[in-house]
Symmetry: none
Subunit: 194 residues, 4 copies
DNA sequence: AATGAATGAGCTTTCATTCAT
DNA sequence: GATGAATGAAAGCTCATTCAT
């Protein structure tokens, strides 16, 4: 039943989507939508929540704890891009929508935090394995950058229907891991002469 | 006068923003807004255009052609994060809004393409300097990832008013450049055993 | 429910009539008006159509094909003036409004054409009965004049609530038929000495 | 200066005409329009008045008191149709407009009354010349019918730019005068068997 | 004397939301 | 329990009308 809502929100965007169309698409009457899922905002949050959960589960399932750090990252990225590839409409637009509609910024922020935390843990483990450490803020920002780069490529993937999710994941891995690997080794770039 | 519009669009989002509120915020009457800037859509495009131009100029001004590749990237990133830090509203309108509102996706896409192209050129120059080359698609995707990571950190910066733009730029540089440097040297990560 | 619309359009004119007033007058809420009858223009066309159809039917019903030509004309005129007398509002909408509002001129023109054609056929039959004939343009203009005279008297009737429709019809018949009868006999007036 | 107003009212209709366009067309600024001619309604009345006066004058000038009754009618009709032919826009639309806009109904009614009275006088003179008389109401209605038929043909003329005013006048004369002549002779049509 | 700039008020239209059946 | 019917509220946009220069 949420499927209809996701479809319509994806197709039209949050504001342009009308409860009429959602009810129609779901094959039930409008009052039922209100009875089961409440306000339009609540409905959107519900969509967001479900899609977010599914994504998280898909990734969590893929990241086996016994893998090496780069193996974990790779598995996670691949799962992520596969999910986006399979739910181009749902994910891409839900995400893009949520980012733009102030009222949902918090819901989204929370989701992103969770992803950032997961990535952060991976990085921390990798660091520990190398016997090195890094400031928490740096870790967070780095994780942010990786998540952001992934989101951006996810957008790119959603806009290029013919693109291959796995290949996209490989590319992201190259950008991410090689950079990260350097950092993990202690190589640090800093502005020269300042 | 566009300032008010940028503020309100950023605060509310495109749809939720009402022309009444924009007029109020600007301290003029609604008909004046229409007289000077036309339709709500045209108004938004005008905001988009101005903010985009400002951002581009800020970056272009910073990137001196006689710098080394990493010097260019660093200058560009620093200018970018400084701009975002100083124009949080503008950034909100530019990216968070425009990305989600179908009608403006094109305007935004064009701008992003320009940035991606600029970054791509930098990378290509660096490659040439090393005597190496890379497939165009890979270049594009890589540039996309860098731009995306920057956008994401920009969001982070916009949400953390106390954060320092220059420090954020440095962090981004670390993620970006070290990773890129590896790639430029020919190191390629690929899924093992698949 | 169209009744309210006809009343208000007749009272205010197309432009000056507000959907609010129509909804009020109908005792329902504005969105209902839109749900049932669509746009203001569509609503007006609907009014036009209904009133026009009613008028045509009233006349068609009255004009029995087995009557003599003057009997037909008389029956038609009587039906016409009775209708106008009974539906003063409707008449107002039909003619006074539609004639002036460019977008509806066509709808009206079509109806008037139908009336002109009917009158033209009557005249032609009468001519044939007398073994005479007349140029088509003359016929059309004559029919036009008769229809116009009738419309004018209809206006007069609509403005004089105490006037008797049948008497008005008789008067119109006198003007119309005696003049026509002359013409049919071949008497033609022409400017002397020119 | 009224010319511009007449042009614009003709082109657009009363409501659709904007004061901006009128001022533009007149080559002066809007406040001047208000200074010289007042409200939009007042402006329209002024147009109506001027056009009406011109029409009346054109007719009055043509109707010499020493003519025979049919000579007077003919001269009047010819002047009328010539005027309409020469001012197709102005007259046709002003008239059609005024008829539809409630607020101006009175102004228009007054003008029409004047014409009816003039025609009535002609008919009464003709009657007197024949030594016959007729009830006042009948006279009025007859005059109304003639005026109405003329208006209708004027509309027709305004819509057929290639039509010849004098020919139209002749046709109207045929319809009008032959019918009237009969009536003047005492021939009266009345519903048979009722 | 003439105008550019400004606005209050109003109109059509659309929805999220709820009764009454 | 489910719905067709209904509405309050608001939004975009326009225009007759007037100041302040």
């Amino acid at each position: 039943m949420l499927d209809a809502a996701v479809r319509v929100f994806s197709r039209r965007g949050f504001h342009a989507a009308s409860m009429d169309e959602i009810a129609d698409d779901a094959g039930i009457s409008k009052p039922m939508v209100y009875a089961y899922l409440g306000t339009k905002e609540e409905l959107f949050v519900a969509c967001l929540h479900r899609e977010g959960t599914r994504l998280m589960e898909a990734i969590a399932e893929a990241v086996a704890p016994d893998l090496t750090p780069d193996g974990q990252l790779w598995s996670g990225l691949r799962a992520f891009f596969r999910f986006v590839g399979a739910h181009r409409d749902g994910w891409g637009v839900l995400y893009r929508q949520a980012r733009a509609q102030q009222p949902f910024a918090d819901n989204l922020a929370e989701m992103r935090e969770r992803m950032v935390r997961v990535v952060g843990v991976m990085l921390a483990q990798a660091l520990a394995a190398e016997g090195r450490e890094i400031r928490d803020t740096d870790l967070e920002v780095m994780a942010y950058a990786l998540v952001g780069a992934s989101e951006s490529l996810a957008d790119w993937l959603a806009d290029h229907p013919e693109a291959d999710p796995d290949k996209t994941a490989t590319r992201m891995m190259n950008v991410a891991w090689l950079g990260a690997a350097q950092l993990l080794r202690g190589d640090v770039w800093h502005p020269s002469g300042e």
